[in-house]
């Protein structure tokens, strides 16, 4: 069953796209990550133009994070004050990212940069997660508790001026740190089509030292707004948002997410984190190989 994507300008198999959304949704339900880091490369691999893949993936993440935000709000899991600061940073970041995107597009290096940033980010985070998960699985086996981190938040963050109280996060820190974090993820959302949860969640825990109870909800809250703004930015600047593509992905991912959430409830979190780390490392490795191997087609065209 094929359907024509009006913006991407090609016809795709409906089941493949919905299935892709389903797999990504399954992962996001199991691990609480958006899955944009998988959607974008897989769409490009399937033949969707990179710009359309990035833009439509952002639209899809907006819809996919709705149910998470609602659920976390219901159990007081969102720090709205922290979230708002990060949204402000994220919106600024997505505008800056649009400028960077255009510059890279003009210089012809957008694909290489996207792949390089993916390799570095996913490789680094995958290694960190794998190490942490392996350590806690080891601790679980030996029966001793994992060594707790000594400090609350990074000393650099404690030294920033103008402190605010974030009650739900249990923090008294400068808003500049979450603002910068939001900005960074905003840039990544526009350029890579990822929600940024895989960077934000570890940064919120290990750098800001936020209470883990509100980390996922607040991160989803920020992702919801920033991806919505990113959709607008792409709709106006690159005109590459494909409503049909985003809709198909969404149908798959919301279904997958519900199944994933139920599967996650039956599995130990340490093993889940190790699996996620391996998937992340796999994507990074695949992209690294793609950069180093001689590509199938060394030419590419661009309309003038």
């Amino acid at each position: 069953m094929h359907i024509y994507l009006p913006i991407a300008g090609l016809s795709v198999n409906v089941l493949v796209i919905v299935g892709l959304g389903g797999v990504v949704g399954l992962l996001s339900g199991m691990f609480g990550v958006g899955g944009g880091f998988l959607t974008t490369p897989l769409l490009i691999f399937y033949g969707i133009p990179p710009t359309v893949a990035v833009a439509s993936s952002a639209t899809q993440i907006t819809g996919a994070s709705v149910s998470g935000v609602l659920a976390h709000t219901g159990r007081q899991g969102v720090d709205f004050r922290m979230g708002t600061v990060m949204v402000v940073g994220g919106v600024a970041g997505s505008f800056a990212g649009a400028g960077i995107f255009r510059l890279l597009q003009e210089s012809g290096q957008i694909d290489t940069v996207i792949a390089l940033v993916y390799v570095i980010l996913l490789g680094g985070i995958g290694l960190l997660m794998a190490k942490e998960a392996a350590a806690s699985i080891g601790a679980l086996r030996s029966g001793r508790p994992a060594p707790a981190s000594g400090r609350r938040h990074h000393p650099l963050i404690a030294s920033l001026p103008m402190r605010w109280r974030f009650y739900r996060s249990g923090l008294y820190i400068s808003p500049l740190a979450p603002l910068a974090l939001g900005f960074l993820t905003g840039v990544l959302t526009v350029t890579l089509g990822v929600g940024g949860g895989f960077i934000m969640v570890p940064a919120m825990i290990y750098m800001l030292g936020m209470s883990t109870r509100v980390v996922v909800g607040t991160s989803l809250f920020q992702i919801l707004f920033v991806t919505a703004v990113t959709t607008m930015v792409h709709a106006v600047t690159t005109q590459a948002v494909d409503i049909v593509l985003a809709g198909l992905l969404l149908v798959g991912s919301v279904t997958g997410a519900q199944i994933g959430a139920r599967m996650a409830a039956k599995t130990r979190p340490e093993w889940l984190r190790l699996f996620l780390a391996l998937i992340v490392l796999g994507v990074a490795l695949r992209m690294a190989l793609g950069l180093g191997w001689r590509p199938d087609e060394i030419y590419s065209v661009e309309p003038l």
Binding site: G9, T112, R294, L304
Partner: protein
């Protein structure tokens, strides 16, 4: 050889065979289920006095899409990774080009004639506009043709034109799903003794239709509203799914 030279000299303008061409579709519309189309070019060859010559004529059909300027980038290995390095500009590259002939092109016309009528993938006038060396230009042009071929946008096939009793011809050209939209021309060439005896041109329009056309237009004309609708739609879908599953759980 002598005959080949003599025949066009002897036969006056009125003595040339004529073409009565037609196409199966004047308009091809791309709707939601579009997975490509097939265009049939057919017609009759009318010989002077209704007599068939000893050597029957051959038919070549060409379907050409709208031409646009484009930039071709070439990847090269820099510091161990493949990045875009050199590039070349072309002023007019057809977004689609398919040629079909009743016999191999090189048996039908000489190189000069093929170049004049742009017959064959090697004879397209792509107007490279950079001041590159001829060697580089040839490399880029070959790279571009190869790229378009792999995408199914350029195609060259021989023996796909059927001629029945030397008079009726039919050729099928397949149009892939990712063709660019716009005005197309379908040209039919009647070739006899190495010369193009008659040319017939028909205009064809390929356009998005219905919902697809509406979405593509909306994205270009009202980008802000389009983005807003995309966001609202995805929020609604996400909310509906979560509400639906919650009811299902209870």
């Amino acid at each position: 050889m002598l005959l080949a030279l003599l025949v066009p000299l002897l036969g006056g303008a009125a003595e040339k065979p004529r073409l009565v061409p037609d196409v199966s579709q004047r308009e091809i519309s791309i709707a939601y289920s579009f997975t490509g189309a097939e265009l049939l070019l057919f017609g009759a060859i009318l010989y002077p006095d209704g007599r068939m010559p000893d050597k029957p004529a051959d038919i070549v059909v060409v379907l050409k899409g709208p031409s646009d300027p484009l930039l071709l980038r070439e990847k090269a290995k820099v510091l161990g990774i493949w990045v875009n390095a050199e590039s070349a500009r072309f002023r007019s590259v057809p977004g689609f080009y398919a040629i079909a002939s009743s016999r191999p092109l090189k048996d039908l016309v000489d190189e000069r004639t093929a170049a004049i009528y742009e017959l064959g993938l090697g004879n397209l006038q792509l107007s490279p506009s950079s001041g590159a060396l001829p060697d580089d230009q040839a490399r880029f042009q070959a790279g571009l043709v190869d790229l378009m071929r792999r995408r199914g946008l350029f195609d060259e096939s021989t023996g796909t034109v059927e001629i029945t009793d030397g008079v009726l011809y039919r050729a099928r050209l397949s149009i892939p799903a990712r063709v660019p939209v716009g005005p197309y021309t379908a040209e039919t060439f009647l070739i006899q003794n190495g010369r193009v005896q008659a040319v017939a041109v028909r205009d064809i329009v390929i356009d998005k239709s219905g919902f697809e056309r509406f979405v593509a237009n909306a994205a270009q004309r009202w980008p802000f509203s389009y983005g807003l609708v995309a966001v609202i739609l995805s929020l609604l879908l996400g909310w509906a799914a979560s509400a639906g599953f919650q009811r299902f759980r209870r």
